[in-house]
Amino acid sequence: MAVREAEPITSLREVKEAGLDREDLLDIYRHMLVTRGIEERGHILYKQGKIPGSFYTGRGNEASAVGVATAMGPDDWGTPLHRDMGVHVTRGVEPWRIFAQYMGRVDGPTKGKDGNVHMADSNLGLIAMVSHLPAMLPVAVGCALAFRIRNERRVAVAWFGEGAAARGDTHEGMNLAGVRRLPVVFVCDNNQWAYSTPTYLGYGIEHLADRAAAYGFEGVVVDGTDVLAVYREAKRAIEKAREGGGPTLIESLTLRMEGHAVHDDAFYVPRELFEEWARKDPIERYRTWLRENADMSDEEEDELTGGVKKLLNDAIRRAEESPLPDPDTLAHGVYATPEELDTPHHK
């Protein structure tokens, strides 16, 4: 079975059909700007020595992350990975907490216990990733299993990279989801590289979305720089899952626009490829679309970018005020206490 290749979105009419009003469209833009802004600022903080450890960004993946997250319902759950900052932003994590996380401060979602994008706010329906890829994918399948057991109209979204697609966890999760037709959507962030490893050394087929057929569900390839097309495909897949139609595998094609992490200059990626994909920059592309199709005015844009700038400046300031964790808390919280389960999810 050949996968379906999604068409780009070209007109406002199509967007409306997909369920977005103008407010939503601007929100999407704002989320993409905030996402990139957080990572750009993070990079600077890293260079200033304010962020310990390593530093990763998802530059080039903003449309994909924000597009999918926008399509999720408020009660849906997801397991975003290290290129998916846009998911956290879209679901409402406050940027200052992300900077606090980066800097290992107590107000980061992990309180300094873990670093960089290894975080999530479970009150926003997100589960924190681990390094091991893609260990969270079968966890998302487990969320979907619970939704199915309880007959809830909720969906889980599992992200994974095209490199991580080689791991057994991908397979076990997808197979279980397929055989039980669970309400889960798999989103492959195919950014063409896994660290220094190009796709042709990672797998022997053209489209990873073709793997969906091996599990009995649908696959679709979407241009990951087209936020509206990503949104439309995610929305379709999520609503299909919600209606009992089973999983979908969405392969979102982008290019990882920076090195694997801050220490990596990506010498192994042909320069022309970077140039080619820079021309398709998802934020620039969407900005143009908004101006051409949604009458985004100069004032609107200035207000928006100004707002983002202020948000980030304030966020960094607030994060820097957050203290480093007290070493005496080192051993706290290895085990949960019964009271912790008295949350809305554990009823």
């Binding site: 479970s122 924190a128 681990v130 969320c143 076990e172």
Partner: protein
């Protein structure tokens, strides 16, 4: 109150919890129509339906990771590994995700993984192992190893209630062999509290699981020599009841740590090391460990018998300790320590 096998106690406890709490479900290979390889969930699917008694694909990572996901959104999953040995296929998930999620991200992972473990039936290298030591080293997991039907029930319910990932080691050699009175009503046995299986004065045995019975037989042999043996059944190795162990050691001054898992790096080492650090001044003899030798579990009966600690091995170990004690008394003044110094 009724007399039940260890297996029946586990099965009944699980059924009781499932009746009581809609959030509890079981998932594993062949747990449905077949009732699981050991029939612990026999009849469950009829009662609870195919979405609370889930026949999974042959897929340990998907089973356990699936439980984690379900737990995070509010369920209380109980996974069955067909044999404890196969949990190696879910090692990464358990140690990387389940064990660390609470600490890192503040997300409790209340899952239970049931693990039919232990040897004694020529199950060979892959149907006989006792992997509790490996998991007990991983912060964030709990490891429970009941020895009696009553504890099996109370600890299983405690495990399901516990907001953390709990590995529940059920010793296969106890399943149908061991019977005992089990209260009908719901109750829990606290995880981390040892039980004095046998009170004694002269030597302490610290053990758990099927070895409790091996130790007990050996203790009976020692009665003839007028040596009184105290058996501390840990009931869980993570957390383990250090207080109870140290208390017994302070009383007897001699200790034998016994387990069925292999010796080097087995959890007995932790217990012995802790005693050596915290009760050193109370000891009258070296801390003895008896455990399986450092080999895979062999299949052929004479080899397997030589592998699993036997009553005679334990009795010999106890005699040696008691003996050593006598020697110590002789040497009391001046003590061997001062001679070295």
């Amino acid at each position: 109150m009724a007399e039940k096998t260890y297996l029946q106690a586990i099965s009944d406890a699980l059924r009781q919890e499932m009746r009581r709490d809609q959030r509890v479900f079981v998932i594993g290979e062949d747990v449905g129509v077949y009732g699981g390889a050991f029939k612990v969930t026999l009849g469950f699917q009829e009662e609870f339906g195919p979405w609370r008694v889930i026949d999974s694909p042959l897929s340990e990572t998907a089973i356990v990771a699936g439980c984690t996901g379900a737990a995070i959104v509010g369920m209380r999953p109980v996974a069955e590994m067909q044999f404890a040995d196969f949990v190696s296929c879910a090692w990464d998930h358990l140690t990387t995700v389940a064990a660390k999620q609470r600490y890192r991200a503040g997300t409790p992972v209340p899952i239970v993984v049931r693990l039919p473990s232990g040897g004694g039936f020529s199950g060979g290298p892959f149907h006989s192992q006792n992997p509790e030591s490996s998991f007990a080293h991983i912060a964030g997991l709990k490891c429970v190893c009941p020895a009696t039907p009553e504890d099996a029930k109370g600890l299983l319910i405690a495990a399901i209630e516990d907001p953390n990932p709990v590995l529940f080691f059920e010793h296969k050699h106890l399943y149908r062999r061991i019977k005992g009175e089990v209260p009908d009503e719901r109750y829990t046995v606290p995880i981390g509290k040892a039980r004095t299986h046998r009170a004694g004065e002269d030597v302490t045995v610290v053990t758990w699981g099927a070895m409790v019975y091996t130790a007990d037989e050996a203790a009976k042999q020692l009665e003839a020599d007028d040596v009184s043996v105290e058996i501390v059944d840990l009931r869980s190795v993570m957390p383990w009841d250090k207080g109870a162990v140290l208390e017994s050691v302070r009383k007897t001054s001699k200790v034998l740590v016994l387990h069925e898992d292999t010796r080097t790096g087995g959890f007995g080492a932790e217990i012995a090391a802790t005693i050596a650090e915290e009760a050193f001044e109370d000891l009258d003899a070296p801390i003895k460990r008896i455990a399986a030798p450092d080999t895979p579990v062999p299949f052929s009966p004479p080899l397997e018998k030589a592998f699993i600690p036997q009553v005679d091995d334990v009795a010999a170990g106890l005699r040696e300790l008691a003996q050593n004690y006598m020697n110590c008394l002789d040497l009391a003044l001046p003590s061997p320590r001062t001679q070295d110094a």
